[in-house]
Every structure is written in structure tokens, then in C-alpha cells.
Symmetry: C3
Subunit: 255 residues, 3 copies
């Protein structure tokens, strides 16, 4: 597994090296904040991205999700390229944007789409490589259906009288539609959701989504390293607000 | 009332159809995330904006407030046009921007002003259609004065020693000045404030402002639908963080 | 002290007057929201910036930190110029950006660097006026070392098993490196950190950082006025969420 990871990472590093846009920005950094350039090279690119606990592919997904959720489109192109070079498929990027329309707001997604379109053109990615608008949805197992039904009933009892619309769309559009779209795996959807929640300081929904992420196959070691990655991309305070919740989820699952 | 609503909504839809800018962005969406385009057409424009629980005018105000509070100026022009087409007056837009300088930060308002100015030019809206800088303020009823005095005393006791400046300006500039400016009704100011708080995840002040909104005439059914609208424009997690607070306010008021 | 302050403030006002860019934006404001222009002139520039509780230099640092943390780069150039005119050194701005990479996310810092570079060029600030990438770090006192060791142990026990990476980098890169860089004083680093936390509504880490700020020399009167300044630049709700925490810190320290 480590071997696969290193090969994958090598691809990512080659990609970084080849990106002319990094060089351009290096100039910005050295002309305004030389230390920031140093930390970027030595710590972020030189260390963090190489840590074996999380693949370059997953780091790309986490970072792209954080940037979209925080509406930081300026930095997005280079990380979209890096994502493509690290094995994230165009169809997956396409689904990440759609997913984040619901989890971080419509305007975040439309801004990301405008930027992503240009990267797709640059990389000669054609529309048949994207996720179709109306694919055959994943089938839910008996257990998944039961657990979704329970969620629906629970949330309906809690909030049905507060906002019928929110409750209805949560079931109809999110859990019985968006989450079942096949071009992004449930595990990766969870990774995107969890990254977006941490990156925007929305820790109230983090517990349930981190649990779901681990049910969907994200390991504790990966989740733990997502926090390290996001410390750099979303800032230390957002990650420190997430730590107690992650701790709680991890502890409950090992009992 | 429904009839009025439908006529109003028809205006909004016609406005949407005529907006060349939508078409341009549809291209972005289909080239990057076809599913996002589908959800935009089928769910957001095709369903949510047509739900009768909230007028197109109110939906426009909520959406514009959310975009300004989240500093998403890219999407703002089309929603400003939609607001004008849905019956929001230029003077009201002008006041919404000023109001949000205080409730979401000065730079959000100045960024919004730059974009709004261009839409006003495009629509040939002249400066005498805007809200004047120094209008005659609304008069406060005996009851309103009393309740404001109570608020002032309470907040002064709580926080006067912590930040005298904040406490002083809250009374002097917010509640005895900004909120009394006549070109945006107290009910609409409340709608703007509540939308901005939910859209930026600032739920700590939501309870008191939602109560105030309902005192100012926002119905429970409208408030409930504001949450549905914002699920799409501010993301599901922000709305789920707001739901328990809305529930609490609704329940206290029906007791 | 007041005299020094007034002279300093005079410099800042002269700087404002000379800024062509203000005039340009005044036009935006009057064409979209005349009242916003009035409040800007009468309250914000005419009153708040002149209050003696906080120097124009500190107000600039707070405002620049808030804008970077909120990713509002449009407004940044004018406040960078104002900071330079108020006595903030280029090397300090350079360190503020680097500091905020860690405290508000990498993309906030790189976006700020791109804008700052242009202001430095405009002001003919050469690279030897910036903070070097690898300076000799400040030495820690016996007491500081002991207290840092305690922090490390405490956080390690709390979160070491949750995210080893975050815990390791917090010690290694933040407290034993970044905070010891000499071109921004610990007191000013704290001012930047506290301003960024309040400006982005991240109040969970505010208590410990406000305490640290006061240990580093920020007075209660200054901290209190930072809240007033940020009410305008980050919006009232963020400041009201910070008030109870500031109250708590102030009260504990006077016991």
C-alpha cells in the first residue's frame, strides 16, 4: 500500500514541478512574505503532502473541498490540476462541486464551476468524461435503507414543524438522490463533506458526518490526517475546534 | 394573497428568463458539473423559488442578504436584477447594503456597493431613487422606546465594562438610528439580519433577532421558508445549525 | 502618550486624505448606498479611528488582520497603505501575512501576499526591508519555556491520539518557530491572532489567545477597543459572540 502511495505521490510532485503557476506565485510570496514561501516549500510541500497517512489523492480532495467551501477560487486551479495529476477523475471533480452546492452553498459551487471549466478546457477534458446529470443511482442495501428511514423519522420529529421544506429536501434531494450518485463514492462524498465542515468551522454537524464517513470507509488514521492537512488550508483554529469532536467520535467507535 | 404572490412570481420568472447572464453561467455549469445545472433548473428555479410559503420578493431579499454577508459578489448582479424585478425598490437595496455594513462587516458592504452601482447604471436608476443619507427617522412608539431602553440597560450591565465603545455604538448607531431609517421596513431589516446570521453560521445572535423579526411582522411560516431558501444558498449545515434555535423561538412564542 | 497618539493619528489622516482610491470608492458608495458613505465619513473615519483607546497603528493591524482572515482582498490595499502610514513596518506586514497563513488558512495568506506585493512596489519597498525567511529566533525565557512545555504536554494528552500531526506541528512550527520570529513582536502577533479569531467568529480559541495577548502586553483597554474597531470591520454579531469570552478573561485576570 505504501508503494502505491509513493508512486501516486511522485505523480503529484511531478505535477507540482511542472506547474508554471506555482512559480508565478512563488514570486508573489517572496516579494511580500519570504517566510511564507519558506514554510510553503519546506513544511507544506516538502513535508505535509508527503506524509504517508493520507494519499495525495485524498489530500487533493480535502484541499479542493476546503477551497470551494471557503470560496477561495483564486487558489483553486492549481489544486484542481494537482487533483487530476493525483488520480482524481474529472467526473469526481464534477461531483465534488455538485455535492458542495448543497453542503456549502450554491454560489460556492457556481464560482468553482466557472474556474473548473477552464482547467477542463486546458486539460482537453471533454464533456463525456464528466459525470452525467442523470445517472442510474447507487442501490441502497436493506440496512442502509433502514438506517436512512430512521434518520428521516428522527429529523422529521425534531424539525418537521420548524421547516418542512428543509426536512423534505434533506430526504428527497440529499440522502435519496445526491448521496447515491455513482460518480463519487460515498466514502469520498463523506471526505468532501467532513473537509468542508471543518474548513468552515461548522462543527455542529461534524460528529454525525465524521461517523458516517467512517461507516463509509474512511479510516481513523486518514481522518486524523485530514485534520493535519486542514490545519494548513483552513487555519489552526478551525482544526482545534474540530479536535474535541473527532476525539469523541473516535472514542465512541473503539468502545 | 396567493394570487398576488403568483403575479409577483411570474414577474420574477420573466426576469430570470430574460437574464442573459444566466445563460452564460449555464454554460459554465454544464461544462464543469452537469448535475449542478440540473439541480439548478429542476429544484432551485423550478421548485424552491415557486413555493408559495415565501414571496419572490422575500426570497430575493434573503438571497441578496446571504450573498452580501458571505461576500459572494460574483453571483450578486443576477440576484440584484431579480430583486428589482420582484418588487424590491432601489432604495431598499441601498438600505440592505448599509444595514449589512453593520451586521456583516464594512468590507462586505463596500464590495456589494461597487457591484450594485453597476446594476443601477444598467437599469437607469438615478440617485434620487436611492435612500437619502439623512432621512427623517421613523418614530418609536412608547412601547418600543421602553423595550429599547430595557435592552440598553441589560446590555450595558452585561458588557459595558467589557467594551464601552461597542455598547455605546449599539444604542446610538444601530437601534436609535440605523433601524429607524425609513426606506427599509423594520420587518425587512429583520429579514435581512436573520438571513445574514444564518448564512454565516452566526447562530448565537439568531434567537434574539428571530424573535425581533417576528415582533416586526415576519410570520412563522415565512421564517420557516427562509430556512428552506437558505439551505440552498448558504448550505445545509448552516441551516441545520439554525434549526434548533428557530425551533426554540417558535415554541416559546406559541406558549 | 496621547500626544504621540495624535501625531500618529494625524499621519494616518493625512494618508487617508491623499489616497486617491478612497475617492474612487466614495463614488461607488454614493451611487449605491448614500447612507453607507455618510456612516463611513461621520462614524468610522470621523469618530472610531480617532478614539484614543487604541492607536492608529494598532487599528491598522487589527483591520488588516480582519481583512486577511476574512479573505477580503479588495479592501486590503488601502488599509495596507494606511498601516504603512501609521507606522507599521513592511517587515511587520510581511510577518502578519505569514502568521495568518497558520491562523486563517494558507490561501488567505497567498491572496494577501499577491495584493501586498503590489503595494510594496508602489511604495518602493525593497526586499531587504522585509522580514527575512530565516532570522535568528527570539529566545524564550525560563518561564516561557516551562509554560510552553506545559501547553505541549496538556495538548498532547488531550489530542495526541486524535491527530498526531496537528499536535506535532503546533509545537514545532507554531510555538517553537513562528511565534519566535523577531520581526513581529509577540504582543502584535497576539493582536493579529485575536483580531482574526473575532473577525471569523472562531470564539472557541479566543479565551486562551486573549489571555496570551494580555500576557504579551495588550492592555484591557486596548483589547476592549479592538472589539469596537472590529464591530465595524467584522460586523456586530461576531463581536457580540466575542463579548462574553472577553468578559470572562477580563474578570479572571482582575481577581
Amino acid at each position: 500500500m505504501r508503494t502505491g502511495l509513493n508512486v501516486e505521490f511522485l505523480g503529484a510532485i511531478l505535477a507540482m514541478v511542472s506547474l508554471g503557476s506555482w512559480a508565478a506565485d512563488v514570486n508573489d510570496l517572496t516579494s511580500a512574505a519570504p517566510a511564507l514561501e519558506k514554510y510553503t516549500q519546506e513544511r507544506l510541500l516538502g513535508e505535509v503532502w508527503k506524509r504517508p497517512q493520507l494519499s495525495a489523492r485524498d489530500r487533493s480532495i480535502t484541499t479542493v473541498a476546503a477551497l470551494i467551501a471557503r470560496n477561495q477560487v483564486n487558489e483553486l486551479p492549481r489544486y484542481l490540476r494537482l487533483a487530476l495529476d493525483s488520480g482524481v477523475k474529472p467526473a469526481e471533480l464534477s461531483e465534488i462541486i455538485t455535492h458542495l452546492a448543497f453542503y456549502s452553498g450554491w454560489a460556492n459551487a457556481t464560482a468553482a464551476a466557472a474556474v473548473t471549466k477552464d482547467v477542463f478546457v486546458e486539460r482537453k477534458i471533454s464533456s463525456n468524461q464528466l459525470a452525467p446529470a442523470k445517472p442510474k443511482l447507487l442501490e441502497m442495501s436493506e440496512a442502509a435503507l433502514k438506517s436512512e428511514k430512521e434518520r428521516e423519522v428522527r429529523v422529521g420529529q425534531q424539525f418537521g414543524a420548524v421547516s418542512e421544506g428543509v426536512v423534505q429536501y434533506t430526504t428527497e434531494v440529499l440522502f435519496l438522490d445526491l448521496w447515491l450518485r455513482p460518480d463519487l463514492s460515498p466514502r469520498d462524498r463523506s471526505l468532501v463533506t467532513v473537509s468542508a465542515l471543518i474548513a468552515t468551522g461548522q462543527v455542529q454537524q461534524l460528529g454525525s458526518h465524521l461517523s458516517r464517513a467512517m461507516d463509509n470507509g474512511l479510516t481513523q488514521s486518514e481522518a486524523s490526517e485530514v485534520l493535519t492537512q486542514l490545519a494548513f488550508y483552513a487555519g489552526w483554529p478551525n482544526v482545534f475546534s474540530a479536535l474535541p469532536i473527532a476525539k469523541d467520535v473516535f472514542e465512541k467507535r473503539t468502545k
